[in-house]
């Protein structure tokens, strides 16, 4: 539920919503600072931090050496001593370079300090294919981090969710991975303008109500599934649920939807095996098995890499048509 007193909204892009959240949190708290590769005057390779170095100065919008373990590690040290760093890792494909600092350090720091240390760090990173960036700049890796204890993982699909969740991530005393689908930076939507607006991490959103099938979709596939649901109107009634947070995952909202529709399709751009899809299906099976009228379906990337070749990339990425096929199998 949106926690805002002022209900006004503005039409804005996903990118601008993220920038707004960063700006508002930097204004609110002197302990918030940004760092990463090219985030300063250049404004980030996807232009998300554009203008912020001018507004807040290079001390708080810090270009770092090309050194993922170095700047993620520095963020961990800063967070453990009371700051709220927001670290940008340009592509999620590079997260592996700093895996030790994220998995063994950031994720475990509170635990290793006996529960006593806050770890208010946010890692922003991009994922998703569709721009011909080839296999080392197009992956969807969020499952790794949702899997790992001690980390919260969010993956917004709308400007509203981007703003509300990023603000909650920055204010969180736990490390939060904030996954930005680079194909939806231009996506427009209504964003609450209230600087006090946040969205709680761990709450799903029913983006569209329906009766016949539940599509649990993330990131770009939320928009695709909503368009598809419009197309199918009158034929199949599709409910679209965006979990928004991958950990904690809002099992109750998903199960409640499946109890109503009896059918489940999970659409997420991560590879199909051992992934986010499997976790959603498993939770529905654990808690809502007897409401299922058909086998749950998964829509994602086959267990391969994202090709450089544009036609091959189009083939491999899940689209509305793939969600449609999955719906047809169960309805």
């Amino acid at each position: 539920m949106a926690q805002a007193t002022d209900q006004r909204t503005a039409t804005t892009t996903f990118r601008e919503a993220i920038r707004t959240a960063l700006r508002e949190e930097m204004e609110r708290d002197d302990g918030v600072f940004l760092m990463g590769e090219d985030v300063g005057d250049y404004g980030g390779v996807f232009e998300v931090t554009q203008g912020l170095a001018d507004e807040f100065g290079e001390e708080r919008v810090r270009d770092t050496p090309i050194s993922e373990a170095g700047f993620v590690g520095a963020g961990v040290g800063a967070a453990a001593t009371g700051m709220r760093p927001v670290v940008e890792v340009m592509f999620s494909d590079f997260l592996g370079v700093s895996a030790e600092q994220m998995l063994n350090q950031m994720a475990k720091m509170r635990y290793m300090f006996g529960g006593k240390t806050d770890m208010g760090i946010t890692i922003r990173t991009t994922e998703g294919g569709g721009m011909g960036a080839a296999s080392q700049h197009s992956g969807t890796l969020h499952t790794w981090f949702a899997h790992f204890p001690g980390i919260k993982a969010v993956a917004p699909a709308t400007p509203e969710a981007a703003k509300g969740l990023l603000k909650s991530a920055i204010r969180s005393d736990d490390p939060v991975m904030f996954f930005e689908d680079k194909m939806i930076y231009e996506r427009e939507g209504e964003m609450p303008t209230d600087a006090d607006f946040t969205l709680p991490i761990g709450e799903a959103s029913v983006e569209r109500e329906g009766e016949d099938v539940t599509v649990v979709a993330t990131q770009r596939l939320v928009g695709e599934s909503l368009s598809l649901a419009d197309e199918l109107e009158g034929d199949v009634s599709v409910e679209v649920v965006d979990p928004r947070s991958l950990y904690p995952l809002d099992t109750d909202a998903i199960v409640e939807s499946v109890e109503k529709t009896g059918r489940l399709v999970v659409a997420d751009e991560s590879p199909l095996s051992y992934g986010t899809h499997a976790e959603v299906v498993a939770r529905v099976v654990e808690s809502g098995f007897f409401s299922l009228d058909a086998p749950p379906q998964r829509v994602g990337v086959p267990d391969t890499h994202i090709p450089f070749s544009p036609p091959l990339e189009d083939e491999v990425l899940p689209q509305a048509a793939d969600v449609r096929t999955a719906i047809d199998r169960v309805v």
């Binding site: 700047f71 590690g73 520095a74 030790e100 635990y111 529960g115 995952l249």
Partner: protein, 367 residues
């Protein structure tokens, strides 16, 4: 001239192996000199007791530090209370000097979750067991302090083996670029488990690596407590308040030797000779400082005996306190992962509690 200006290839010494003054002594009062001596004696005795506890099955795997007391005590003494200390896993003496009680170190190695909790009043970071991971943390914390306008120094310990890790390079490079108030303190004890120092790097000294990062590197006799104190004190002062032409960070290489095993889980006689160990034992920091303090009239038999008695009592009391700690509760494994327990984790804790209620803890414990 600052000792930091001497370059990374000249080893700084104040007391030679016989305890004779060969360099300028740092300005320390008689009480401070005796306090350094007492901390080193305490560390040596604590270490022997800890190894013995592990051998008796009263403690888990433990990394001994005998031989390294001068480097730890001399450097930690150079900090002010508000400065921060980032330990690796062997800095039991350094953390004690900076405010961590002995019983907390024992609890850590006994596997109590409560041993992870550093006291609120001590600016000591959590113990880093993976190699070199604390180096970027110290750099980041130091940089964050400058953003806040604090003027504290951040002293970060690691071993010779850690200098081969990427985190060492990334942490020092970052510190050089952003001029962070960090003192990187390498306890070069010659061995990374079984791999000797010359297999870690072809550099003539570890200190010289600082040149590439654009700040001072200095090599010090790490078994000479007065030289270590002097070098670290100057490095810490420069970190806080450098002259216009100085950069804040310093890399200190303290050349020393661990007399014992890497941890209680390995046998050093497999990889190094007894002759080598004996040669280094000739540089033992404790008799060195004791000779100097006796010859300058600051210590006598009576005071040495009184110190020995008091440290034995202090370590015994710490062991008693640690062994009196209640058994950790399973709830701690869950409650310390996040600031607030997520629902899923709460359900998993409840599942475990149901199992414990049904079968009792004894079913889960290996005796």
């Amino acid at each position: 001239m600052s000792v930091l200006d001497r370059g990374p290839r000249e080893q700084i010494q104040v007391l030679d192996e016989a305890g004779e003054l060969v360099g300028d002594p740092p300005s320390l009062s008689d009480d401070e000199l005796v306090a350094i001596y007492r901390e080193m004696k305490l560390a040596r005795h604590f270490d022997a007791r800890a190894v013995s506890l592990q051998r008796q099955g009263r403690m888990g795997t433990y990394p001994p530090m005998s031989g390294q007391e001068a480097a730890q005590v001399g450097s930690a003494f150079a900090l002010d209370e508000a400065d921060w200390l980032f330990p690796s896993y062997r800095e039991h003496a350094a953390t004690h000097v900076h405010g961590v009680p002995l019983e907390r170190t024992l609890l850590y190695w006994m596997g109590h979750e409560s041993g992870n909790r550093m006291p609120d009043e001590a600016n000591v970071f959590t113990i880093a067991v993976p190699i070199a991971t604390q180096i970027p943390h110290a750099t980041g914390a130091a940089w964050a302090a400058t953003l806040r306008g604090d003027r504290h120094a951040f002293l970060c310990y690691f071993g010779d083996g850690a200098t081969s890790e990427g985190d060492f390079h990334e942490g020092l490079n970052f510190a050089g670029v952003f001029d962070t108030p960090t003192v990187f303190f390498c306890n070069n004890n010659q061995w990374a488990i079984s791999v000797p120092r010359e297999r870690q790097t072809a550099s003539e000294t570890i200190a010289q690596k600082a040149e590439a990062y654009g700040f001072d590197g200095v090599q010090v006799d790490g078994m000479d407590p007065l030289a270590v104190y002097r070098v670290t004190r100057e490095a810490v002062a420069k970190a806080r308040d450098p002259d216009a032409d100085e950069s804040r960070p310093t890399l200190v290489e303290a050349v020393q030797y661990r007399f014992g095993a890497h941890t209680t889980a390995d046998d050093p006689s497999v990889y190094r000779s007894q002759e080598e160990v004996e040669e280094w034992r000739g540089k033992d920091p404790i008799p060195r400082l004791e000779t100097y303090l006796r010859e300058t009239g600051r210590l006598d038999d009576e005071r040495v005996d009184a110190i020995q008695a008091s440290i034995e009592e202090e370590v015994s009391a710490a062991v008693d306190t640690a062994e009196g700690e209640r058994r950790p509760h399973p709830e701690e494994m869950f409650s310390q992962v996040f600031a607030d327990l997520p629902d899923r984790l709460r359900e998993q804790l409840e599942d475990l509690e149901r199992l414990r209620d049904r079968y009792g803890d004894e079913r889960f414990l290996k005796e």
